[in-house]
Symmetry: C2
Subunit: 103 residues, 2 copies
């Protein structure tokens, strides 16, 4: 156990998409680029099967709030609700502990 | 914002697999069935692209600990390190807030 572990935050975004791309992929790539420029951004993991799961990592709750309100991201959120998602769920989480395995 | 929101826990498991199935899929299905029988299990989301992401949800940290130490799961963890994973990362998180969208 790492005694120096400093808690940070994860946003778990699970979703089911509508049919077709409808400009989604291009916007998703742009959003990832813009997120990486935000203060407090730490990383992102993304995978898609029947549901899509994207987890982004942030130093503070304020960093998450700032990204949520970033103007290009606000437009993407509006497009998301209108065109891309059947449903989504967002969970704001505090990462309290973690460990790795490397073969 | 739901004022009655009761925090719970998420385990974010990200991984990269070795080549081939090597008995993984059958064991993964079994582990999901067994996890669902554990006290405090709330749900699971899973998706796979370049990385695999599985997020399981639990009522308490004790429920997570009990599942980690469940005997069949311990065997699966040993097989995982030996045969299935190039690397993995486990994050234990407290879910502090969440919201949904339904089209």
């Amino acid at each position: 156990m790492n005694q120096d572990f400093e808690p940070y935050y994860a946003v778990i975004f699970t979703s089911t998409r509508t049919e077709g791309d409808n400009g989604y992929s291009k916007m998703a790539d742009l959003m990832e680029c813009l997120a990486k420029e935000q203060d407090g951004f730490m990383g992102i993991d993304s995978a898609k099967s029947e549901v899509g799961i994207t987890v982004s990592y942030w130093k503070t709750l304020d960093a998450i709030k700032n990204w949520k309100q970033q103007s290009d991201h606000l437009q993407a959120q509006q497009k998301g609700v209108k065109d891309w998602y059947k449903w989504y769920n967002v969970k704001i989480c505090k990462v309290e502990r973690e460990y790795d395995f490397n073969a």
